[in-house]
Each structure stands twice: as C-alpha cells, then as structure tokens.
C-alpha cells in the first residue's frame, strides 16, 4: 500500500477528532499516531485483543463519495469513565448510552468532515449505533461489510489516551474497496491534493 499519504491524511483527521472529543468531554483526550494497513479479516477482528473481551462500541456508517464504517471501541471501564466525565452519578442507562453515541457521532463527523473538506467530497453519516458486547462479535459483524480487498479490510487504527485518567479506546476506519481506490487516486503523486 502507498500508505504514507494515507497516514498523513488520517493523522490530520484524527487531530480534528481529538480536538472535538476533548471539547465534548471537558478533558484532554488525544489520539496516538495512526497505523494504516490492509489486514486479513480474521486478524482485524483481533485488533482489540481478546475477542471475548467485553467492549462498548459505537458504529457510524458513512455513504456518498466514501462508503464504509467508523468504529470506536472502548473497554467497559473506559466507557464508564467517559460517561462519568459527562454525567452526574446515577443518570441512567439511556443517558449513558446517549453519551457513548454522541462520542461516536462527534468523532465520526470530525473525521469525515476533515477528509470531505480536503477533497471537496460529499459524505453523509448515518446515526450512530451503540452496542455493548464481546469485542470480536462487534468487529466481526461490522468489518466484513467494508472489505477493501477480497478477505481484507483497510484499517486506519489508533488508540486514545487521556492525561488525567487512563482510557483505552480504539478508532477504526474501514472504507470499502471502491472508496479505498478513490482515496488512493486522490493521494497519488500528481493527484489533485499532492503538496497541500
């Protein structure tokens, strides 16, 4: 993969994601350097570690000039911390789910807006969907819908961290095959955005 430009693109977009999430949560939450790789499906599902590990996930599908899925996957403890930063104790499960959904919504829209603005593309986001279950069950249900090549997905992956309290979250961008080709065409040497 000619992934250097994809890494730069993802790093810039994740900077926007970090800024928007920090504003939402009232804490400094930073995304680490992203890795970009074409990964076999079975391997991608192990991105979080144990496939049976309990996780809280929010999935945002996107369509338009880019088609695919964004996932934010948090450990149960980290999701609890995010909720605690935003809500008083005992706020109730519905509100807690709303916080997790909003985190996904903000992160997804920040990332997609960053990419769309750069290329003047039209990209629409679906409402975020929240689920708490085994990490493998979540990833295995979403990633096959965004195969970038037969049997493989393009994973743009990073982990979040906060200075005050440890949170562990995984950000995954999984575009489908035609979307990956469109991205690479725009990023290719001599392409419209080269040198920006």
């Amino acid at each position: 993969l000619p992934d250097l430009d994809l890494v730069a693109l993802a790093a810039h977009a994740l900077g926007d994601v970090s800024d928007r999430l920090s504003a939402l949560l009232g804490r400094s939450l930073r995304a680490g350097p992203p890795s970009v790789a074409l990964v076999p499906l079975a391997e991608a599902v192990r991105a979080f570690g144990s496939e049976e590990a309990p996780a809280v996930a929010v999935v945002v599908s996107f369509t338009g000039d880019l088609v695919g899925q964004i996932l934010l996957l948090w450990t149960e403890a980290s999701a609890g911390r995010l909720v605690r930063w935003c809500l008083p104790p005992g706020a109730g499960a519905a509100l807690e789910e709303s916080v997790v959904a909003e985190v996904g919504n903000v992160a997804g829209s920040a990332f997609v807006s960053s990419v769309a603005d750069r290329f003047a593309w039209g990209i629409q986001l679906a409402p975020p969907v929240v689920v708490a279950d085994m990490a493998g069950a979540v990833l295995g249900s979403v990633l096959p819908l965004a195969e970038a090549a037969p049997g493989s997905v393009l994973l743009v992956r990073t982990e979040f961290s906060a200075a005050e309290e440890q949170v562990r979250g995984l950000f995954l961008l999984a575009p489908d095959g035609p979307s990956l080709a469109r991205l690479l065409a725009r990023l290719a040497p001599g392409g419209p955005v080269r040198g920006r």
Binding site: V45, E52, S61, V131, A137, V138, L145, G151
Partner: protein
C-alpha cells in the same frame, strides 16, 4: 478444563476439522457471524468440523474461502468430513450466532445475521444433514466451543456461563 485441551480457533471465514480428542475447536465472538458445526463418526471415532461463517452469499466468488459464506460452507464442511472418513449419511449439525447486534440499524448491519442463519438452514436441508440444535438470533454475541474428546458442543454469551448445545438439546433459537 480448557487448559487440558489444545485450543484450535476458527477465525472469520475459517474452517477447522479435528478427530483429536485433545482438541477444543472454538469460534470466538460470533455476532452476525454463525458458527456451524458438522460432525460424524469415522468407525467409532468422533470427527468434528467448525466453520466461522461471515456472509450469506458468495455470489460465486467464494474462491479459496468457502467457509466464509453460508451458501458454500455446508458443502465444504461436509466434504472435509467425508475426506476424514465419515459416512455422508451419518453427518449432523448445530449452529450458533446470527445475532442482530445493532438494534435499530438499517441495511446489512441489521439484517446479515438472520440472513446467514436462514441460508445455512436451507443449505443443511438441501444436503440432508439434520440440524440437531441452534442458538441463533437475539442481540448478543456468542462463543461456540466443540470439545472433541468430550463429544459435546457448548455456547456462551459475554460474561455468561457455558450452556450445553449438544447433546443435551437446544439453547435458545
């Protein structure tokens, strides 16, 4: 107990077959995916196969990944068991998974689990392989385990206990 077994994982789209009594075949974290087990006997020896089925329809493009698709996984697994010496008319099956993980999601995200399970049922019927038990549907992920030496199959949800799927009967679905 699991420590006494050699864990053999069937990841997404993968198929595993074993007659080794020391093997534990596992499909972890089945969400919309379905774990399909077909087993038989070679002489008096229990032989089991596990496929981690991901999508309902290969559209003729299964290639080297027949276990990945519901329309090709049954024939692929049955053929593997026949090659291992099992009689075709003695094969039996169970399956687990096929959940709708994302409540309220539209399109494939919400429908693929049910489509996987339905296609597998149809293919099993077409192949004449009886489905002895199924734990499918719902909104929770599952892990499916095949204890080759114990000749039993169990299923569990996140944080939950193992439930016998076979031979003691169906666990839901």
């Amino acid at each position: 107990v699991a420590a006494e077994y050699r864990v053999v994982v069937a990841g997404l789209g993968e198929r595993r077959v074993s007659a080794d009594p020391g093997d534990l075949l596992v499909a972890y974290g089945l969400g919309s995916c379905v774990g399909l087990v077909i087993w038989g006997w070679q002489g008096g020896r229990f032989v089991a196969g596990l496929a981690h089925v991901v999508m309902p329809d290969s559209r003729g493009q299964a290639g080297a990944e027949p276990a990945k698709y519901a329309d090709t996984a049954v024939a692929d697994l049955a053929a593997a068991l026949r090659r291992a010496g099992c009689r075709p008319d003695g094969l039996q099956a169970v399956m687990a998974g096929g959940a709708a993980m994302f409540r309220g999601a539209s399109g494939a995200l919400g429908e693929i689990g049910a489509a996987n399970a339905a296609r597998l049922r149809a293919e099993l019927e077409r192949a004449g392989i009886p489905l002895r038990a199924a734990a499918v549907g719902g909104e929770r992920g599952r892990t499916l385990r095949v204890w080759v030496g114990g000749q039993r199959i169990t299923v569990s949800a996140v944080g939950g206990a193992e439930v016998a799927l076979w031979p003691t009967g169906a666990a839901g679905g």
